[in-house]
Assembly symmetry: C2
Homo-oligomer: 356 residues x 2
C-alpha cells in the first residue's frame, strides 16, 4: 500500500525522536512491500525562526495533501514572551484545527518492565490499560472571546461546546470501548459548569446507542484522585479538551514516563500523530530523549491510517521486549538496578528495529 | 477569648463529621477558658428541602454575623437533575462569594502512619508537606456569561480574572511561603490561555516583593504529573480556582484519603472552614465517615480565626498520635494489618479528644 506521511519534527527533541519513528516506519514498509513517502515540513519554533510564523502555508499544504501527519514536538523557551497566538504552540493548535481531527487518543499502559519506574505501587498499576479520548478542537483552547487587556488588567477565555462537538467525540469513545473492556468513564464538572451539564446530558444520550457499553460519570476533581487510586478500574476515559490535557499527563505516571506515551488524533480530514511529551529543550541533542513515545506513535499511524493492525501490534510487542531486556533511556533508567543498561535515543531506536 | 462560630453541617456525612469537629472545639474552649458560641444553620440539599433554596437568607445573616463559618459538606444525588444554580453546590458557591474569602488553603501532608494507604510508594511521599493556595472566587466558577442553551444545543462558561484578583491571592501564597520552605510553585496554562498569561505575569510581579521566596511556574498538565513523581519538591502551590480544585484532590492521594484533608478560606469578611471531602451520601449515617478532615479543619479555625496556634498544633499532633496507635475509619483501614483497629466516626472523634 501507499502512504504519504508529512513529517513535522518541530522543536527540541522533536527531530531526534521523530527520526527513530520514521526509521521504524521505513522498516515496516520495506518488510511489507509498502510504499511510504515521507515529506518533511516546518512547525513551531523552527518555523518561526525560518519563516516568521509557527505554521507556514507550505506546511499546511503538505499536511493536507498527506495521508497522515507525524509531529515531533513544539515549544521553545525563547518565545515565552510572545502571546499565545504567536508562540510555537500556536502552530500545533492551528494544525490540529486545520486537519480537523477532534478525537485525541492517548493510551496509558502499565508495562511490567517499567513497574519500578512509576511513583505508584506496582500492585496499583499492574495491568492498567486506559485509553483517553480527549476532545481536541473545543473548549478553552479555541473558544472566543479570548483576550488579555493590559490596560484594563483583565483577561478572559471561553469554554464553549456545541452538542455536535460532543456527540462526535462521544461516538468514537463508545466505538473504541466496544472493542475493549466496554466501559466509558466520562469526565466533567457538571456540579458547577453549564458546559459540563451539556456534556453529561449529551454523553448520556449517545450511550443509549451502545447498550453493551457501561457508562459512568466522574467529576474531574474526583477523577484526578481515582486515576491514581484505582487505575485498573478504567477502560476508555472520555474528556473535554483541557480536562484531557491534565488527566492524560497525570496518567503518564502509570506508565512511568511521559517519554513513553503516544497519541493519535482522528476523525478529521487527515489524522495527526504526536507523542504526548513536549520538546524538552533542556535535553535536546544530548541523546537522552526517549524515542519510544514517538515509535509507539508510529504504531498508531499503522493502526489508524494504514489498517496495518498486525504491524502496529508488532511494534508494540518489540517495545515491550526491548524494555524487558533492560534497555533504558535516561528518563526510564533507575539507579542501582544492575539489569538495566543506559542507551541513547538512537541506540533505543536501533534495539526496537532489531527486535522487530 | 470569644468566638462566634456558625455551623453549617449540610448534607450526607456533613452533620456527623461536623459534630466531632465542634466537640473538639468545645474541648479546646473549656480547657483554655474561651467562649466559643456555636450557631447552626442550613445549607445545601437540606436547605433546599427545608426552605426551597440552597442558601437561605437566615443562614447568610448568621454566617456574616459570625467570626468563623464551619461547613460540613453539600451535595445530594436527588438534586442532580437541577441546573447548577439551583443545586446544593450553588449554596456553597454563594456562601463562598458572600463571605469574600478568596484564598482557599489546602494542606496535603503525608502522615507516616498512613504511608501504606497511599497508592504512591512510601519513599515518594515520605515527608511531603504541600500547601495549596487555591483562588476561590474567580475563573470558570463565577465568570459570566455562562449558559446552556437547550434550543441551540450549545453551552458556554467564562474563565475570567482581573489582575487584582490574582495579586491578592498571590500575596497570601508568598506570605505563607515565607513561614515555610520559601518556595511558591504557580500553576497555569500560559502556553494556551490568555488568562494564564495574565496570571503568570502578575505572579511574577508580586514575587519581586518577596526576594527570599523562590518562584517557579508550572503548566497545569505537567504539574499533575510532577505532583505524583516528586511531591516532596513542592512547598506552596498557587493556582486559579479550577486547577486548584483538580490538583488538590489529586494530591489527596499523598495523604491517602480525601477524608483526611482540611481547608480554610481566608482573606474576606469572614473565614470559611470546610473539609475537602464531599457529602458522600452513600455512607451517610453508617458511622463510616472519617471525621479527621473536619477535625483538622477545626485546627485551622483556631490557627486562622483565633490566633490559637498552639491549640491548632495540639489538635494536629493528637490526630497524628491517634493514627499511630492504629485507629482507622473505613476509608483509611487496610485489610491484613493486625495493628489496626476499625473505629466509627464517633469513636475516632473520641480518640482524638482523649489524645488532646
Ligand atoms: C503544547 C500544548 C499546547 C499541548 C496541549 O495542551 O494540548 C500539550 O500539552 C498536549 O497535551 O498536547
Ligand atoms: C462541591 C464543589 C462545588 C467544590 C468545588 O469544586 O469547589 C468542591 O469540589 C471543592 O473542591 O470544594
Amino acid at each position: 500500500m501507499k502512504l504519504n506521511i508529512a513529517v513535522l519534527a518541530g522543536d527540541g527533541i522533536g527531530p531526534e525522536v521523530t527520526r527513530e519513528a520514521t526509521t521504524i516506519l521505513r522498516a515496516v514498509a520495506e518488510f511489507g512491500g509498502h510504499d511510504f513517502v515521507f515529506t518533511p515540513a516546518l512547525i513551531g519554533g523552527v518555523a518561526i525562526t525560518g519563516t516568521g510564523g509557527p505554521l507556514p502555508q507550505a506546511t499546511l499544504d503538505i499536511a493536507l495533501a498527506s495521508d497522515a501527519v507525524v509531529l515531533g514536538a513544539v515549544g521553545d523557551n525563547k518565545f515565552n514572551a510572545l502571546s499565545p497566538d504567536k508562540r510555537p504552540e500556536a502552530g500545533l493548535l492551528q494544525i490540529r484545527q486545520a486537519l480537523g481531527g477532534f478525537a485525541n487518543l492517548r493510551p496509558s499502559v502499565a508495562y511490567s518492565a517499567l513497574a519500578g519506574n512509576s511513583p505508584l505501587r506496582p500492585e496499583v498499576t499492574a495491568g492498567a490499560d486506559i485509553l483517553f479520548v480527549r476532545e481536541l478542537l473545543g473548549g478553552l483552547y479555541f473558544g472566543a472571546p479570548r483576550w488579555w487587556n493590559r490596560d484594563e488588567n483583565e483577561a478572559i477565555n471561553t469554554m464553549r461546546y456545541t452538542k455536535n462537538e460532543i456527540v462526535r467525540v462521544a461516538r468514537i469513545a463508545f466505538e473504541l470501548a466496544t472493542r475493549r473492556k466496554k466501559k466509558v468513564t466520562s469526565v466533567d464538572k457538571a456540579n458547577v459548569l453549564e458546559v459540563s451539564q451539556l456534556w453529561r446530558a449529551t454523553v448520556t444520550e449517545i450511550a443509549a446507542e451502545y447498550p453493551e457499553v457501561t457508562l459512568e460519570h466522574q467529576l474531574v476533581d474526583s477523577m484526578a484522585m481515582h486515576l491514581m487510586n484505582t487505575p485498573r478500574s478504567f477502560d476508555v476515559v472520555l474528556t473535554e479538551n483541557l480536562f484531557g490535557d491534565i488527566l492524560s499527563d497525570e496518567s503518564g505516571v502509570i506508565t512511568g514516563s511521559l517519554g513513553m506515551l503516544p497519541s493519535a488524533t482522528i476523525g478529521g480530514t487527515v489524522n495527526l500523530y504526536e507523542p504526548v511529551h513536549g520538546s524538552a529543550p533542556d535535553i535536546a541533542g544530548t541523546g537522552k530523549a526517549n524515542p519510544l513515545g514517538a515509535i509507539l506513535t508510529a504504531a498508531m499511524v499503522l493502526r489508524h491510517s494504514a489498517g496495518l493492525e498486525a504491524d502496529a501490534a508488532a511494534i508494540e510487542a518489540a517495545v515491550a521486549q526491548v524494555l524487558a531486556t533492560g534497555a533504558r533511556t535516561a528518563d526510564i533508567a533507575r539507579g542501582g538496578d544492575a539489569n538495566q543498561q543506559l542507551v541513547s535515543t538512537q541506540e533505543m531506536g536501533k534495539l526496537v528495529h532489531q527486535a522487530l
